[in-house]
C-alpha cells in the first residue's frame, strides 16, 4: 500500500541560485556545457584549513548575513514569477515546504560577546546577532508570498531538499494542500561549516585544481566539495495548472523516504535504505523500474557513498542498470547539503525538457566499483520521460522523488 494519490502534481515554477547560474536558463546552459563552479574560497580566508575550495555563488546583490536566506528569497521570487507568467497565481491557499540548512554562529560575534560588547539594540540586528535562526527564512517567505498554510520545515541534512519537495508533492497529491512553494536553501561556506566538515574528513582537499576537485564515481575522488545556493519550485494540482494556462515544466509522481538504521556517517553497505527510498518512490508513482530513463544521483564523490549508491541502483534496475544514464550534478555545483535535492531536481527537469543529459564532469578514471553509465565528461542528447532523483544524508536518511516529463 502507498499514499492515496488523488491529484496529479505539476511543477509550474522554478528558481535556482547556484555557483554555475543564478537563473534557470544560466544554470541549464552551464550544466550542459559541463562548467564547474568550484574555486578557491573567497567568502573568508580559509588560511590553513585542509579544505580551501568551494562552489561559491557569485552574488552581487544585497546579501543578508546568512547567505542561505538571501538565496532562498531570490530563488523563491524567481519560481513565483515563473509560475505566474500567465498573470495568474496558483489557485487556493498556498503553503511552504522548505529544506533548511544548519544555523551556525558567527565567530566575530562570539569574539564581540566575549569582549563584553552589548548585543545590538534593534529588533532586526538583535535577531541576526551571533546566529541567524534558520526558521527566520520560513517567516520571510511565507509572509512575502502570502502562504497561509502551516509551513513544513525539513532538517534531514543532505536529504532535506528532496524531502521538502516530496512532502509538498504528497500534500497536494493527497488533497491536503492546493499548491506549495517547495525547495531548499543552504550555505555552509563559513569557518565553522568548512571546519566541521573537514574535521570529519568529508570534504575534498584537492585545493590545487579546484574545478577538478569534485569527482563523483571517479577512482581518485577524495570527498565532496561544499557548494551553496537554493532551489525553489512551485507545485500545484495539474488540473489547476491547466485551468489557469500555466506552463507545466514537469510532474512529480512519487516520493520515497527511508532510514538506513545503520551507521552515523556511512551508508548501509548494501545500500538497503537507498534501495528502499527509490523503490517506495516508484511504488507511489506506480512506475516500473523499467520506465526509468535517467537517475540524478546523490553522487557526492565520497569514497563510501558512490559505490553503495551504485549497488542500490543495480538492485533496483537489475539487468537494465548499465543502460540507464546516471548523472551527478555535484560534479559541477558541489554539495549544497540541504539545498542539494532541490537544485538537482531542477537539473533533472531542465534535462528532461531539453532531452539532454548533463555530464558528470571529472570522471576520467572510473572506480571499478562504480561501473554504470555516469555520462562522463560531456553532455549528450537523451529523451527522458521519467527520472529518479536521489538524496541521501548523514544519519541514514534517504529520499527519492520520481519526476515525469510534462507530456509523458
Amino acid at each position: 500500500m502507498g499514499n492515496i494519490v488523488t491529484h496529479r502534481v505539476a511543477v509550474t515554477g522554478m528558481g535556482v541560485v547556484s555557483a554555475i547560474g543564478r537563473s534557470v536558463a544560466e544554470f541549464r546552459d552551464s550544466l550542459f556545457a559541463g562548467r564547474s563552479g568550484v574555486g578557491p574560497i573567497t567568502l573568508f580566508d580559509p588560511a590553513t584549513l585542509p579544505t580551501r575550495i568551494a562552489a561559491e555563488v557569485k552574488w552581487d546583490g544585497d546579501v543578508m548575513r546568512d547567505r542561505k536566506v538571501t538565496f532562498a528569497c531570490a530563488a523563491a521570487a524567481a519560481a513565483m514569477a515563473d509560475a505566474m507568467q500567465g498573470g495568474t497565481r496558483p489557485a487556493g491557499g498556498g503553503g511552504l515546504s522548505l529544506g533548511l540548512g544548519l544555523e551556525l554562529f558567527s565567530m566575530d560575534d562570539l569574539a564581540a560577546r566575549r569582549r563584553g560588547e552589548p548585543a545590538p539594540a534593534g529588533a532586526r540586528e538583535r535577531l541576526l546577532f551571533l546566529q541567524t535562526p534558520s526558521d527566520l527564512c520560513v517567516s520571510l517567505l511565507s509572509r512575502r508570498f502570502e502562504l497561509c498554510e502551516p509551513p513544513s520545515t525539513h532538517v534531514s541534512a543532505c536529504a532535506a531538499g528532496t524531502d521538502a519537495i516530496g512532502s509538498a508533492f504528497r500534500m497536494i497529491a493527497t488533497g491536503r494542500r492546493r499548491w506549495m512553494l517547495a525547495g531548499g536553501a543552504d550555505s555552509m561556506i563559513n569557518p565553522l561549516g568548512v571546519a566541521g566538515f573537514c574535521s570529519i574528513g568529508a570534504t575534498s582537499t584537492a585545493n590545487d585544481d579546484p574545478p577538478r576537485a569534485s569527482r563523483p564515481f571517479d577512482l581518485r575522488r577524495s570527498g565532496f566539495v561544499l557548494g551553496e545556493g537554493a532551489g525553489m519550485l512551485i507545485l500545484e494540482r495539474l488540473d489547476d495548472a491547466r485551468a489557469r494556462g500555466a506552463e507545466v515544466h514537469a510532474e512529480i509522481s512519487g516520493y520515497g523516504a527511508s532510514f538506513d538504521a545503520h551507521g552515523i556517517s556511512e551508508p548501509h553497505p548494501e545500500g538497503r535504505g537507498a534501495f528502499q527510498a527509490m523503490s517506495r518512490a516508484l511504488q507511489e508513482a506506480r512506475t516500473d523500474p523499467g520506465e526509468i530513463d535517467c537517475i540524478n544521483a546523490h553522487g557526492t564523490a565520497t569514497p563510501k557513498n558512490d559505490p553503495v549508491e551504485t549497488r542500490a541502483i543495480k538492485r533496483l534496475l537489475g539487468a537494465r542498470a548499465h543502460a540507464v544514464p546516471v548523472c551527478a550534478t555535484k560534479s559541477m555545483i558541489g554539495h549544497l547539503i540541504a539545498a542539494s535535492g532541490a537544485v538537482e531536481a531542477i537539473a533533472a527537469i531542465v534535462g528532461m525538457k531539453a532531452s539532454m543529459l548533463h555530464p558528470t564532469i571529472n570522471l576520467d578514471q572510473p572506480d571499478p566499483a562504480c561501473d554504470l553509465d555516469y555520462v562522463p565528461r560531456a553532455a549528450r542528447p537523451h529523451s527522458q520521460r521519467c527520472v529518479l532523483s536521489n538524496s541521501f544524508a548523514f544519519g541514514g536518511q534517504n529520499a527519492s522523488i520520481v519526476l515525469r516529463r510534462a507530456d509523458a
Binding site: L102, S152, A195, F197, A261, I264, G395
Partner: protein
C-alpha cells in the same frame, strides 16, 4: 491542516517522555555509538523507548514503522563554544589564521554529530531499527502539529502500520538560551526546559488485534497559521507557548510541549494551546485514558 484520527482510523497506544534525569542506556542497541550522542539524542532515545514500552512494542520495528520528529533549536554548550573562541583569538579579535591553526584541531569531530538536528532521528532509527519513512522538522512548537499531520496521513494511506511521533528540545545551553533572550518578548533561561516526548500511533484495528490499550484520543483541535514579520519590533504575540495545565511552573519545552504534557497526564482531559512568535495559533483537546 487536517488532524483527523477518525479518518485515519488511528489511536494513540503509547506515550513516553524524558527529561534531564532520564537515561537512554537501557534502550541502546549499540553502546559504542554512545560517544556520538548529544543531550538531544539521549532525550529522544529515552522518550521513544518509553513510548514503545507504553505501547508494548519492541524493536526491531522495521519497514512498517515511520518516524515523525520535530526538533528544537540547535544546541551548543558553553564549554565547546569557549574552547573554539579561545583558540581563535588574536588579542581580542577573531583570527581566521589562528582558527585554522589552533581551533580546528581543538574541535572534537564528534561535536558535529552531537548538534545536528537530524541526529536524534538517526539514533532513534538505529536503536529501534526503524526503516520506514520519516519527517524531521524544525524548530518550534507548531511543527509538532505538522509532523502529526504527516504521520496520520501515512497511517491513513497504509504506507505504515506504526507511527512514532515525537519532539525533542535541548534548550538549556548557551546557544538556545541566547536565541530566546533576543526575541521579543524575551524568554528567561530559567523558563526553558530540556525534554523529549513521543506518541505511538497506530490504526485502531491493528491496536485492537494485538490487545493494545488506547492511551489518548484527540477530541478537538484548531490551528491557524498567520505569517509574521520576524523583524517586527513589537510582535503581535504575548508568549511563545502555553502548555497544558499539567506542565507545572510555566516551563517551556519547545516542540516537545504537547508530548510532555500528554505523558505527564495520567487520566482526564488535556488542553494544549500555542500562540507562537512564528505565527502558529493552535489549540487541541485530548482525552487521556
Amino acid at each position: 491542516m487536517t488532524l483527523d484520527f477518525a479518518r485515519a482510523g488511528a489511536v494513540v497506544t503509547g506515550t513516553g517522555a524524558a527529561d534531564d534525569a532520564s537515561d537512554a542506556t537501557p534502550f541502546l542497541r549499540l553502546r559504542k555509538l554512545r560517544k556520538f550522542m548529544g543531550r538531544q539524542d539521549d532525550l529522544a532515545v529515552a522518550a521513544a523507548g518509553r513510548a514503545l514500552q507504553s505501547a508494548a512494542l519492541t524493536a526491531p520495528l522495521g519497514e512498517r514503522c515511520g518516524l515523525y520528529l520535530a526538533v528544537g533549536y540547535i544546541p551548543f554548550e558553553a564549554d565547546d563554544m569557549e574552547r573554539l573562541i579561545e583558540a581563535s583569538l588574536d588579542g581580542e579579535r577573531f583570527s581566521m589564521t589562528r582558527f585554522a591553526a589552533n581551533a580546528f584541531s581543538a574541535i572534537n569531530p564528534l561535536l558535529t554529530f552531537r548538534v545536528l538536528p537530524n541526529m536524534p532521528a538517526f539514533h532513534v532509527s538505529l536503536n529501534f531499527d526503524v526503516q520506514g519513512p520519516y519527517v524531521v522538522s524544525y524548530p518550534g512548537p507548531g511543527q509538532f502539529y505538522c509532523v502529526l499531520e504527516d504521520a496520520l496521513a501515512a497511517l491513513e494511506s497504509g504506507a505504515i502500520d506504526i507511527a512514532l511521533v515525537g519532539a525533542v528540545a535541548d534548550q538549556r545551553n548557551v546557544l538556545v538560551e541566547h536565541h530566546f533572550s533576543r526575541i521579543a518578548p524575551a524568554v528567561e533561561a530559567s523558563r526553558l526546559a530540556n525534554g523529549a516526548a513521543f506518541l505511538v500511533i497506530e490504526r485502531a484495528v491493528d491496536a485492537t488485534a494485538r490487545g493494545a490499550i488506547t492511551r489518548a484520543r484527540l477530541a478537538d483541535y484548531r490551528l491557524i497559521y498567520s505569517p509574521v514579520d520576524p523583524f517586527a519590533a513589537d510582535p503581535p504575540f504575548e508568549c511563545l507557548a502555553v502548555d497544558g495545565a499539567c506542565v507545572g511552573g510555566g516551563r517551556q519545552f519547545g516542540p516537545a510541549s504537547l508530548g510532555m504534557a500528554m505523558a505527564g497526564t495520567v487520566r482526564g482531559w488535556l488542553t494544549h494551546r500555542l500562540h507562537t512568535r512564528d505565527g502558529f495559533d493552535a489549540e487541541s483537546a485530548w482525552e487521556i485514558s
